[in-house]
Symmetry: C2
Subunit: 481 residues, 2 copies
């Protein structure tokens, strides 16, 4: 039986093409428990592969037919109909098995389309890391799950207990015997009734696609707020809609190949820096990204005179802290356009601009009702949705230059059968006009940057990672650390 698919979900199937794969991804790195090796971890996964149960989400297949009048719907397959040998794959790194080889492999895996005749996911078990770790790259179509749900799915298969064994693999039904305790919950699942939990931060395309409907219904009552926000944006002081983004190389058409890069930084370092600068962790992430984009574009003689504008999803809890969200009521998410001050050579000045812009923007959003916040955010994200769907550049001037998300991940160390999850890098969806996406997740002691770009636009992301390194140093010096 074909169950109906949400129209926004089916848009990710309709809008997909070879140049615009519509799946999100995650790269997890595991350290095997003491006394064991990556080979032992691989064996545990292989044992799991002999099991015959598959979690319901991973048995859902997208289908449309003449009888469904061409509308996409969901089939749920029986366990035995899922060809696990297709979905769960063993990969290996060529020598020397370093980060370069890992990212080259993941870049390629992230750039190919899922097989639409099957449930829309793949999991790659990657061996051959010279440092003895084991990597798992997961790929899920956005029609099946947004980035946050995908990360939840993986995190939900982990345990805070390093001694727990006989745990099911991520694709298997979870027993939930010792689920992660509530205070350490990973990112919240999407709650569309309330307009998105914090997880919406990872669901910008979904937000954008909801824009049309929401805005149409609510725009009348929003006019005063909209005018205020547009006015703020015009003055470059932060708001949900941007009118001032310059054109950059990041905002053209894209090809079908992807380039991904990832790096972690100690959370403590960033927290200390934030404290000294009277800023949030999120502000530091933005300032690091700002300096990185400035440095990268400047080195290529491609830095525009006007500052780059980032689209930033923000949490709007009454007592705003820098990361994480609780499931408690009243949690709100909005989208802000942040002036990255890439025209300023001084890193301290850039940080101040980012901090003030985010502060003012959040204050402005906080004055609005939840419906207004959603509508304004959706309006800001709408051009992304249009380009994503149409696969081509809309306005000559991009609505913003880059999407930068910072999402709280699990706040406690997590394990799978004793193997510690060292990092979980989120990989996102570049689209026409948005060739680069920067998403960060923080866990108990570090913050992980995941960069996903179009390989034609950004043939090598490693210089960006180097810039991130440099920027953190520079910002520390700027505040006297």
């Amino acid at each position: 039986m074909l169950l109906p698919m949400a129209p926004t979900d089916s848009l990710f199937l309709l809008g997909e093409s070879r140049e615009h794969p519509m799946h999100v991804g995650g790269l997890a790195l595991f350290t095997p428990p003491d006394g064991t090796s990556a080979a032992d971890l691989r064996e545990m996964f292989e044992t799991a592969l002999t099991g015959d149960r598959v979690t319901p989400l991973f048995r859902k297949r997208a289908r449309r037919s003449l009888t469904s009048l061409g509308q996409w719907g969901w089939d749920t397959l029986a366990d035995h109909q899922v060809d696990l040998g297709h979905h769960v794959r063993r990969d290996a790194l060529p020598r020397p098995g370093g980060t370069d080889e890992l990212m080259a492999l993941v870049s390629r895996l992230h750039g190919t389309l899922l097989d639409r005749s099957r449930p829309l996911w793949e999991m790659h078990l990657i061996e051959g890391l010279a440092d003895g770790r084991y990597a798992v790259y997961t790929k899920i179509h956005h029609a099946l799950a947004d980035g946050a749900s995908a990360m939840n799915l993986l995190a939900g298969s982990l345990s805070a207990d390093p001694h727990r064994r006989h745990m099911p693999a991520p694709w298997q039904p979870q027993t939930h015997l010792t689920a992660v305790p509530t205070p350490h919950e990973p990112v919240q699942p999407m709650d569309s009734a309330s307009g998105g939990g914090l997880s919406a931060a990872l669901d910008l395309p979904g937000l954008a696609l909801r824009a049309g409907r929401t805005v149409a219904g609510e725009v009348a009552g929003l006019l005063p707020a909209a005018i205020n926000t547009l006015d703020r944006a015009a003055r470059g002081t932060g708001g949900a809609v941007s009118l001032t983004a310059p054109h950059t190389v990041l905002n053209g058409s894209i090809g079908g190949a992807r380039q991904v890069a990832a790096r972690t930084f100690p959370l403590e370092r960033i927290r200390l820096l934030a404290k000294h600068a009277d800023a949030t962790v999120n502000d530091i992430v933005l300032a690091m990204s700002a300096g990185t984009l400035r440095g990268y574009l400047h080195a290529r003689n491609a830095l525009p005179a006007d500052p780059l504008i980032a689209m930033v999803p923000v949490s709007l809890r009454p007592t705003d802290t820098e990361s994480g969200g609780s499931a408690a009521g009243g949690n709100r998410v909005g989208v802000l356009m942040c002036n990255l001050a890439t025209h300023l050579p001084d890193p301290g000045h850039r940080l101040e601009t980012v901090r003030d812009c985010m502060r003012e923007g959040k204050a402005a959003l906080r004055e609005m009702s939840p419906a207004q916040v959603l509508a304004m955010s959706a309006l800001g994200a709408a051009p992304l949705g249009m380009e994503l769907l149409l696969g081509r550049r809309g306005p000559l001037r991009p609505p913003f230059n880059v999407v930068i998300s910072n999402v709280a991940g699990p706040r406690t160390p997590l394990y799978w059968n004793g193997a510690r999850l060292d990092a979980l890098y989120p990989l996102s969806i570049p689209t026409t006009g948005q060739a680069l996406n920067i998403t960060c997740t923080s866990n108990d002691d570090q913050i992980a940057f995941g960069l996903t770009g179009c390989r034609s636009t950004l043939p090598d992301l490693n210089p960006m990672l180097d810039h991130l390194d440099t920027e953190l140093d520079t910002l520390e010096r700027a505040v006297g650390l």
Copy 2:
């Protein structure tokens, strides 16, 4: 500047979808020269990657635009515009690095679409084979090159001289200092003026796509021949058009994932068998395939009562020999529908039927003019072209059940910088209604079977390889060897 693309070539771009990738592939296995290892071979490839020259064919990019009125054309990029890091990739096998791991990797690589924003090829350098060899999987879009051209390209970068060094890599311009001597030439390049060289055997989709034009122009003069052939086909005695193929599991719709399998057999064994059976090497290939298909379908309770029909490209030289073709004039290629006699339990009877059917069919084709042969063959292949283009089943009854090609490869040992080419397996294009393709190539001392199938239809091809083994034994016993 956009150069025009042949309409038949552009059809491979227009007809392509996620479920119907339109690229051909080849898997080459190299044994490093004495005293060296696969790592040394890898290093030679990496040295080649530092070069900045790319052979013109590999710089051609398919493009269409508003100014080309939506028609596909070819751009030729400059050397430096080709991102070799994208096209030439390093892969590794997970342990234990056996045939299973190699074929699993190649199956997956063969099932993903090329990036259309770049020249339409990839070359994968595969390390980690436990037997010390080195594998190279090449993937070329059919719009850029048919299977024969692709194999020529690779073979053309090899040398008959095991002592030659400093040879360019396959993607580099060839110096042709010591090209393969003429008598040992690999398969002939396509010669469309004469209706296809023997290489047309690897270009069935192209043949099918030319059908419409050719048949339209020539059908009037062909009526007597057509009637004769249709009549032969109805009697099941071989001809270019089949009316009698039963429906099998091989003839439904297909998914986007591929499964490939490969095995080699000593050419001497097959030659001896052919001699004792008064048959050709090609007849033995067909009889082995017939027994394999019977065994595979029978084990799955899916063997139809009527015999399966194979579409077989044949060489029609006056003195027909079992393999190879020369560039000499008068060489003709046709397509025959061969009764595989899968309803007969006795392998000897199956071989006799195949042999007689091929003999009669070739005799019938030989009575025709070259134009008639081409037109009849194209007519026979036309349904394949239609399904390939429309991506769906046409008639309920398939025109034939499987395509089986046997193409002469290089007849002398070939080397790349001293590394011997042990085998070159051709991988083809399954289409809707044709979920399995069997292509063989022979070299100096062995014949290589390459099976390319849809993974949904054929989740595991290994049983087919086992059947091929068994069938060769059984056929030898049947003729008293």
